[in-house]
Every structure is written in structure tokens, then in C-alpha cells.
């Protein structure tokens, strides 16, 4: 079981003066079920990446609790593998070496390591590219390597930080479909940070809509639609409209408060 509980999480960055301090997240609470695909949706600056970094163990929480299978999350570890927007592949390693890296760190015996690595090369559709270096690959292929590297260590949770944001529209759509295929083959609990409503709807079982300054959960939406989901599907368009109005309202509110404050 890999259940993630986010409970009353707050994050504040303290500056030199108290006025410099910024509250990035306030009382964020939600639960992600075992093998659930959960998107965290919000504008840039709403603290969604901060939240992901805290789940990964890169940053500490100011207060609140983060529990993975009833245990508080600590330092970064293979149970919570991360996929970054900029891929973060090791440029001096080949595709194969990149994917095998985590297994090596986990001290998996060579025979099993080879087997698991090859299996994941296949899974992400990179057979034949094992000996290439990252700089020889396109953006989409690099992200496939990153996905394979993260999945190879068999993490309990897969954390994805706007993984397809750097890709062009065509590649992004293709990688989203690939992501669903991969996830259906190798079920995982996934936390997927994005600012694209369409992307969130296309992929997720659950969408956490976040609002800005300080970031908190505006709405926790369960998406109970069969995959693949088509853009023209009325259920999808209704949901899209609903989320858009949630987010737009937030923007309006913000400009209202800004006006009130004379900014």
C-alpha cells in the first residue's frame, strides 16, 4: 500500500525581516489513495512545486504532517522518485546507464539490475537507444529516460513536476498518452504537478485545485471518467469549464483585493 496523507501542511520562507517572510502554503490537506493518479493544479507561484519538493524530501515543512504509509517522510529516497521538468538526466551516462543508476544505488545484484533496466527500456519505448547520450535525444525521449529511471527503482510514489511543460504541443500530447499507457502497465501512486487544466483532466483520478498566496486547496475533485478521455467528450468539457471558472474566480478575487489595497 502506498497512501499519501498531506495534513495541515504549512510552508513559510523567512526573510531577513519579518516583512520579508512569505507564506507559500497554508493548511494544505488532502489524501492520495494507493495507486491513484493525483494532479496538483494551479498557477505558477501557488506553491505546488514547493509541496512536491517537500514530499520528495528536498525541502522541510514549517508545520503539519506528510505521511507515506503512516510514516512521516524524511530525507529524499527511492520510495519517492521524482521526475523533473528539465529531465535532470546525467549527461555523462548513456540512456542505459541513466536508467540503471538507481538500481545500482539500491545495490540490486547485477543480473536483476540488467533485467529490470532492459524491462524499463522496453516499457518507455527506447529499445535501440540504450547506448545514446541524453544530448543526442529529443525532449520527449529524454523525458522517457527520466520516467524509466524513476520507475526502475520501484518507488512507492512517483512525483512529477510539470514533466511535459518543456515539450512542444504535439510531443506533449503524445507523452501524456504514453504516461497513461505506462501507468496502466506499472501502477503507481502518482503526484503530478501541472498548470494545464486539460492535462490534469486527461490524466488524473483526482485533481487538487490550488489557489495562490498563500497556496491552499481550493477544491478536491475526483475524476471518475473512463480513459482515454477525449477533449470533445461533454463530461470532460463540463469539468474543464468548472475548473476554469474556479481558477478564474481566484484571479478575479485577487485583482479585487489588489484594487482594494490600492495596488
Amino acid at each position: 500500500m502506498s497512501r499519501l496523507v498531506v495534513s495541515d501542511v504549512c510552508k513559510a520562507y523567512t526573510g531577513k525581516n519579518t516583512t520579508d517572510s512569505v507564506v507559500a502554503l497554508q493548511n494544505v490537506t488532502f489524501t492520495v489513495a494507493h495507486n491513484e493518479f493525483c494532479s496538483i493544479l494551479g498557477h505558477s507561484g501557488c506553491g505546488k512545486t514547493t509541496l512536491l519538493n517537500m514530499i520528495a524530501g528536498f525541502e522541510r515543512l514549517t508545520s503539519g504532517k506528510l505521511l507515506l504509509d503512516e510514516t512521516p517522510v524524511g530525507k529524499p529516497g527511492w520510495e519517492r522518485a521524482v521526475i523533473f521538468q528539465d529531465y535532470a538526466l546525467f549527461p555523462w551516462m548513456t540512456v542505459y546507464e541513466n536508467i540503471a543508476f538507481g538500481l545500482e544505488m539500491k545495490k540490486v545484484p547485477l543480473k536483476e539490475r540488467t533485467y529490470v533496466t532492459e524491462q524499463h527500456v522496453q516499457l518507455v519505448g527506447l529499445a535501440g537507444f540504450e547506448k545514446r547520450y541524453p544530448h543526442e535525444l529529443s525532449g520527449g525521449m529524454r523525458q522517457r529516460v527520466a520516467i524509466a529511471r524513476a520507475l526502475a527503482v520501484d518507488p512507492h510514489v512517483l512525483l512529477m513536476d510539470e514533466p511535459f511543460a518543456a515539450l512542444d504541443a504535439q510531443n506533449r500530447a503524445m507523452m501524456q498518452n504514453e504516461m497513461i499507457r505506462i501507468w496502466e502497465t506499472e501502477r503507481k501512486t502518482v503526484i503530478f504537478v501541472t498548470h494545464s487544466i486539460e492535462e490534469a483532466i486527461k490524466l488524473s483520478d483526482r485533481i487538487i485545485v490550488m489557489t495562490c498566496r498563500p497556496g491552499h486547496v481550493k477544491e478536491n475533485i475526483v475524476v471518475d471518467l473512463p480513459r482515454p478521455r477525449h477533449e470533445e467528450d461533454p463530461a470532460v468539457t463540463t469539468l474543464k469549464r468548472r475548473i476554469r471558472s474556479l481558477i478564474n474566480k481566484e484571479l478575479e478575487d485577487e485583482s479585487c483585493t489588489a484594487k482594494k489595497n490600492g495596488l
Partner: protein, 268 residues
């Protein structure tokens, strides 16, 4: 089809050879002018100070034939190599300084005081410490190589992308593996740059060190030739120093391109 390709290839080859030859025009004119001035215009005593290229060629051939040039070149190279091996200690030190703040804070004042002192300023003290000979020379060259490697390593380590370190940690790498497998590798191109700069500075320091404190080496050769007014040998020695310095740099560049095929892609 193939014929067309062949033709195109031979054409580009011809063009590139031609353009390379064209680039040598000025140099050739200068050499010819030099030859004419030394042999026709200058008086014999003046020509002694400015021997013509042909005289240099003769001197060079003599030095090569007798093995003298090779002997001096090798002893210079040997010193440079020894100094480099010692100065390579700057790599682990630089990694430690770039990685752990406490090491940086402790080492930094010391290094900031020592670094601006030119290696040549150490020559008098080093002669008193080591006497005249190899160890003194190696010490001076070592100082020349050490600091460029150290500073470049520190910068390289500090500039390693945070996400690469995070990516390693989140698939289970411990501190030692992060340092060895990620930080060192990611900083390596910058370390190689440090080595290139360092060997260049070291090579300059080497000649100066040999001018005053050696009985062999290219620096010794040109200074020794000066006392006998053999300007031809002096100039041949100078050219050898230049060519050898250039070759060291070219070899390291080629080697690093060979060893770091991925860093070429990085710089794109």
C-alpha cells in the same frame, strides 16, 4: 551519385587546402623579409643579434641531431609532469571546498592570501628552501598549476545543477555516491579547463624557474646560449617552448573531447 559526392568532396578538400595556404601569406612575407633584412641590410655584428631564419633552421637541426634539444625538452616536460601530479591534489581539495561550507570557510582566507602571489615571486625563497635543482623548479611550477585547478574545481562543484543532485538522491544515492558519481562527473569539464589553464601557467613558470635555478631544461638552454651570444639557439629554444606549450594544450583539448563526448553536447 557516388561520383557527385566524390567530386564535391575533392572540391571542398581543394578549397580548404587553398584557404589554409592563403592564411599563411602574411607569415611567409614576414619570413622572407626577415631573411632579406638579416642577410642583406644588417651589418655582420647586427646580424648576430638577429640571425636569419635559415641560420635558425641550421641551429635547430644541429640541436636536434646532437640530441641536446630533446634532452632539455624532456627534462622540462618531466618537471611539468611531476608538478602536475602534485597539483592534482587541488581536485579533491576543490571538491571539498565547493561541497562543504565549513571547509570553504576555513580554507578560503588562506587561499585568498596565497593565490595573488605570482609563482615567480616564490623563486628566491624556494631557492633557499630547496637549493638549485629539480625540487625547486617543480615547486614553482606546482604553484602555477595548483591555483587554476583549485579555483575551477570549486566553481565547477558549485555550479552543478541542483536537480542533478536531487535526481540522484531521490533514486537512492547516498552522500558519497552523490559526490563521486554526480558532483565530480558534472564538475569534470570545468576541472579539465582548470587543468588546461594550470598547465599553461605552469609552463610559463617553468621557463622562468629554469632561467635562474636549473642546469637543464629549455629555460636553462636559452639562458646558457645567451652567455655565449648564440642568439640562434636562444630563438630556437624560445620557439620550442612555444610549440611545446601549444602541443600540451592541443593534446589536453583532444583528450577531453575523447573522454567527455557528452560535454560537447552540453556546450551546444
Amino acid at each position: 551519385m557516388e561520383q557527385v559526392v566524390d567530386k564535391a568532396q575533392s572540391k571542398t578538400l581543394k578549397v580548404s587546402v587553398l584557404s589554409q595556404l592563403r592564411n599563411l601569406t602574411l607569415l611567409s612575407i614576414l619570413l622572407i623579409a626577415w631573411q632579406l633584412i638579416s642577410t642583406k641590410l644588417l651589418s655582420e655584428s647586427m646580424a648576430l643579434l638577429m640571425p636569419p631564419p635559415t641560420a635558425l633552421a641550421t641551429a635547430a637541426w644541429e640541436l636536434i641531431k646532437s640530441g641536446e634539444l630533446l634532452h632539455h625538452l624532456l627534462s622540462s616536460l618531466k618537471r611539468e609532469l611531476w608538478a602536475f601530479l602534485l597539483a592534482a591534489g587541488a581536485i579533491p581539495l576543490g571538491i571539498a571546498m565547493g561541497w562543504w561550507k565549513i571547509v570553504h570557510n576555513q580554507m578560503d582566507p588562506l587561499i585568498e592570501i596565497l593565490r595573488p602571489i605570482p609563482p615567480l615571486a616564490w623563486i628566491p625563497l624556494s631557492i633557499l628552501w630547496f637549493g638549485i635543482g629539480d625540487s625547486q623548479n617543480v615547486f614553482i611550477i606546482f604553484l602555477g598549476i595548483f591555483f587554476p585547478i583549485l579555483l575551477n574545481t570549486i566553481t565547477g562543484v558549485k555550479n552543478v545543477e541542483t536537480n542533478l543532485i536531487r535526481a540522484a538522491r531521490c533514486v537512492g544515492a547516498n552522500e558519497w555516491n552523490v559526490l563521486r558519481r554526480v558532483v565530480f562527473k558534472a564538475a569534470f569539464p570545468q576541472i579539465v579547463t582548470g587543468i588546461r589553464v594550470g598547465l599553461g601557467v605552469g609552463w610559463m613558470a617553468l621557463v622562468a624557474a629554469e632561467l635562474v635555478g636549473a642546469s637543464s631544461g629549455l629555460g636553462f638552454l636559452i639562458n646558457d646560449a645567451r652567455t655565449m651570444l648564440r642568439t640562434d639557439i636562444v630563438i630556437v629554444g624560445m620557439l620550442t617552448i612555444g610549440v611545446a606549450g601549444l602541443l600540451i594544450d592541443v593534446i589536453i583539448r583532444k583528450l577531453s573531447r575523447r573522454l567527455l563526448p557528452w560535454s560537447v553536447g552540453l556546450s551546444k
